[in-house]
Amino acid sequence: MSVFLAVLKRDLLLALRDGAGTWTVLGFFTIAVAVFPLGVGPEPEVLRRVAPGVLWAMALLSALLSLDTLFEADYRDGSLEALLAGQLVPELLVLAKACAHWIATGLPLTLAAPALGIFLHLPTEAMPVLFASLLLGTPVLSLLGAVGAALSLGARRATVLLAVMVLPLAVPVLVFGAGAVESAQTGLAVGPSLLILGGVALCALAVCPVAAAAALRQAVE
């Protein structure tokens, strides 16, 4: 446990030192969302209709943007071999790093999303649902992303490859996340979407660390 926390703390410290990571992701999220009204026009009615989808799709892309460095730096400087040689099982190592990634990117995205919802005239009553759906969904993105990042270590054009692999896998998160917000907007029950999203998160928690750990072992072989 203390080793798990040591890895988590180190990655958070690195994210904090680097700083740019979190801010770049937030900046991309803000700009990408702000570009939409410029494309589809300023009518509040139109913006309100597309708001859940746009916010969720852009959160997905923003989270993806920062994933390529998840294991890459450790892979390049030899840390990954040393980390895998430690007493922490690789699955927990993946979990620690995915946690750190989520705290450094997923959580800020979740916190920023309601503010950007205002840009898109998202009604106030849908804001808590947007927040809750991102709170459940962004960890899944970090976990799926960890699998993609581990698989594409050392690959040619790893960043694009990562997006091509992870985006189709992330479709359920997008559907239920945006679906929950849309239900809230149209006065339907949000419970089912959020529950399924929670279920997806639990599945990802069970499967992704195992797959990513297998990929990491292959990468240092």
């Binding site: 698989l151 594409s152 690959a155 040619r156 490859l161 189709p168 896998l169 239900s183």
Partner: protein, 255 residues
């Protein structure tokens, strides 16, 4: 006891056939026969589908697209499951032939999925009045095609072939677990977004006069896949041998 020895004998046969050199011999032997059977079945299926079977009372002649569309969809799904299985076998048993077979199969599966999407689009124009409709089944197939893209790109993204094979195997397994979730989410999404007026394909029970050509075509597609798959796997095996020889020659030259 008899069952045990049968299983053992079967196991030995499979293992012996899985040796690359034997595999090439076996493939050379099988390919002409399977190809001929595929062509024969395809001929019979096409005649039945295009000429003998009746037009649909609702959809008219366009229903004949189904005889290509539906078997392609089946093959797209079948091949994805096959690639994941082969990947799993490769990871567990570390057998190079499993990886070669997976590498050979994936683009074929992607091609079947693409054929399914294109024919679906061609069918959609007369039926729905649009080239593309976000129908739940078409959308699922589109996502399957994307999964194939990731799979194929990953398996070819490394200088070291083995690493690409292993990584792609892990991705295929993850994708296989995810596929039902994707399917479910797309159905959910579709009911959330689509008005109920969208016409459902397939309709009620299918008549025997349409079922027969469909089954013939499905058989033909499967045989064609096996023939192409054997050819491509054989190529992969031979390529791996060439690479090994080239590597050997390089390291000899350095000494």
């Amino acid at each position: 006891m008899a069952a045990v020895s049968t299983v053992k004998a079967l196991q030995e046969t499979v293992l012996r056939a899985a040796q690359p050199a034997r595999f090439v011999t076996l493939a050379n032997m099988l390919i002409p026969w399977i190809s001929a059977a595929a062509v024969g079945l395809l001929g019979a299926g096409l005649i039945d589908a295009l000429a003998l079977s009746p037009p649909d009372y609702q959809q008219g002649e366009t229903v004949r697209i189904m005889y290509i569309h539906v078997p392609s969809a089946w093959m797209g799904l079948f091949v994805y499951a096959l690639v994941a299985t082969l990947g799993g076998v490769g990871l567990v048993a570390g057998h190079p032939l499993a990886f070669a077979a997976a590498r050979a199969a994936a683009p074929l599966g992607a091609a079947f999925t693409a054929v399914c999407l294109v024919t679906g689009s061609l069918w959609g124009k007369p039926m729905w009045g649009a080239w593309w409709v976000w129908d739940a089944r078409l959308t699922s197939m589109l996502l399957l095609l994307f999964l194939y893209f990731g799979q194929i790109a990953l398996s070819r993204a490394f200088d070291e072939h083995r690493r690409g094979d292993k990584a792609a195997a892990v991705l295929a397994l993850v994708g296989c677990i995810n596929l039902p979730v994707v399917k479910f989410s797309v159905d959910w999404w579709n009911t959330l977004h689509q008005p109920a007026s969208v016409m459902k394909l397939g309709g009620p029970a299918i008549d025997a006069s349409m079922l027969w050509p469909l089954l013939l075509m499905a058989g033909a597609f499967k045989l064609a896949f096996f023939a192409l798959w054997l050819v491509r796997t054989r190529t992969e095996v031979v390529e791996a041998r060439l690479r090994a020889a080239a590597n050997r020659a390089r390291s000899e030259a350095m000494r």
